[in-house]
């Protein structure tokens, strides 16, 4: 054996420590960072619990949520309520219904409102944002004009107070859960549109887009393979965060009496709204749905913030 091969072997051995992992895409790396983040894990756990409750809640509920089984024990007009006890873990509401069962069943409605209204905002907003962004970056002069017009319209939407907008929609469409979902969703549209467009605009000016143009890649393909995938991170984060806001806003609308009037379907926001009348005598009636909403919203916010950190390109490497 010559010393030459020896030294090469030794060098290879010493440099091995520096070998980097291979073939990890940015998405995968972001996911790895997410897994190592305490914030993300807690947030995900809360969300998972919430989703499980929303799905299996109705089967877990010990009592029928709408049955006024204990109406003889509660006299709301006399300020007589029943608190937590062995039979009813969260006590009874003003009509003598089991609060615990109502919470379990209500989770599904709350999740539905959150997800659907977020999706309305995300899909419509992202679509507008994408078209506007694509037009602005690669559409030439006409494209820039289209973008200007669309964005001024979005600005008008954005400048309306969101609650006012929601109330107006509710006024037109009447009182129902669908109204709440659409109202909350529409309010989110300009947020997503602006976010995606802004992100696409900044990516559109980057060198790799210029490089793709120089390669002769068609414009449509540049938008879809180059600009869009790199512009999605903030939108994903925003989607998670707006699930939290959607749940809270839906609760607010329900609280204002615009929510689902159907007493057969309990929903946390409606429950909170109803509880306010009896807050002096039965504060716990408000606390349960409020805590439910806050904890769920917090779960989504935690996950959203953790995702923002994980997806931040500055932390790459």
């Amino acid at each position: 054996m010559s010393t030459k091969t020896d030294k090469i072997d030794r060098l290879a051995e010493l440099t091995q420590a520096n070998e980097t992992t291979t073939g990890a895409s940015l998405w995968r790396e972001a996911f790895r960072r997410l897994k190592n983040s305490k914030m993300a894990v807690i947030g995900a756990a809360v969300i998972a619990l919430f989703v499980v409750v929303a799905i299996v809640g109705p089967w877990l509920a010990p009592h029928t949520p709408t049955a006024q089984t204990w109406r003889g024990e509660v006299f709301a007009n006399q300020g007589k309520f029943v608190g937590a006890r062995g039979e009813n873990w969260f006590g009874l509401d003003h009509l003598g219904r089991d609060m615990f069962s109502r919470m379990l069943v209500g989770a599904r409605q709350t999740l539905l409102v959150g997800v659907v209204s977020m999706l309305i905002g995300l899909v419509v907003g992202a679509l507008i944002g994408m078209l506007s962004g694509a037009a602005a970056t690669l559409g030439g002069r006409t494209g820039r004009r289209v973008d200007t017009v669309v964005m001024r319209f979005i600005d008008i939407l954005l400048s309306l107070p969101s609650l006012l907008l929601a109330v107006s929609i509710a006024a037109v469409m009447g009182q129902s859960l669908t109204t709440v979902m659409i109202a909350v969703g529409v309010v989110q549209i300009p947020v997503f549109a602006r976010l995606l467009r802004g992100s696409m605009l900044s990516q559109g000016g980057s060198d790799y887009v210029l490089a793709a143009k120089a390669l002769g890649v068609r414009r449509k393909r540049i938008v879809l393979t180059q600009i869009l995938p790199n512009s999605l991170s903030p939108v994903i984060v925003q989607a998670t965060l707006s699930l939290a806001t959607a749940i809270i806003e839906a609760a607010a609308l329900s609280y204002l009496g615009l929510g689902n009037p159907d007493p057969a379907v309990p929903e946390w926001g409606v429950m909170l709204a109803q509880a306010q009348r009896f807050f002096d005598n039965a504060p716990m009636m408000a606390v349960y749905p409020a805590v439910g909403i806050i904890v769920t919203a917090l779960g989504f916010t935690l996950l959203g913030e953790a995702m923002r950190e994980a997806l931040d390109p500055k932390l790459r490497g």
Partner: protein, 333 residues
Amino acid sequence: MPLLSVDELTVTFGGRGRTPSTAVDGVSFTVDQGQVVGLVGESGCGKSVTSLALMGLLPRKGVTIGGRAVFDGEDLLAMGPKKLRDMRGSKLAMIFQDPLSSLNPVIPIGVQVTEILERHRGLKGEAARKEAAHLLDRVGIPDPRRRLKEYPHQLSGGMRQRALIAMAVACAPRLLIADEPTTALDVTIQAQILELLKELVDQEGTALLMITHDLGVVAGLCDQVNVLYAGKAVETAGRRELFAHPTHPYAHGLLGSIPRLDAPRGEPLNPIRGSINDKIAWADGCAFAPRCDFYTMECLTGTPQLTEPRTEGHRVRCVNPVLPEAPAEEVPA
């Protein structure tokens, strides 16, 4: 006694959940009164971290600093934050690579200069403004009275760097640390700034620690040069000695790889192979070994020590230095 004596400076970064990485790994050098000393190296060699450590500008959290840096009889690394703040700007000043981000964008240049004069020299009002105008004129900013009222974004890159130099020399510091002061500037502007620095050092007797990746800048400016690689000084010599006889294979290779404006054309360059990522830990051997043409088994056993294989004061951290009697080829098997 040297003005600044840095002894075994180490800087280790290691935040929560991250494997600690050593950016500066036992760097020692000295700066004498009125001397221009260069710290040269490529990205990741630890030159900028060294300067930040000396100025006390590294974040306190997640950074471990070891060694000593005795400036004018006091250890900069052991100094309290308040004392260090007083020191900065008065006896010790720094010029950064990016003049725009080192100037406050919402405050006029004049206010930023007079602030230093008030703080460290106790000048007030018109006296401070007069001195500020004088300083701007000193660094070659035309029409200084008008410039004092302007904001940083109204000045060009070269003018901003001059303003920064004016602020740095406002209190006649004994040591000026310049971290890549001309890298962001065009070459004709770079020539202006280098000439200005040279003139300041000559006239005021300020010592200058010049941090740069540009060997050309070093050749024209520095008295003493330290070549850094992967956090350690690998070669230290006087300017003429270093450029005439680069002895560490890295310095030797680096000088051989640069296209020169005054050299004959038509021959391919002699690059150093690999990249800075191809390195081994200093504890295991020479970090440069994976890229070195001359490495042997001895290079892979423990940290090589500084020796003086050629002349006194020309220190080289290498087991197989490039010497005239040993021709530049691989050691046979």
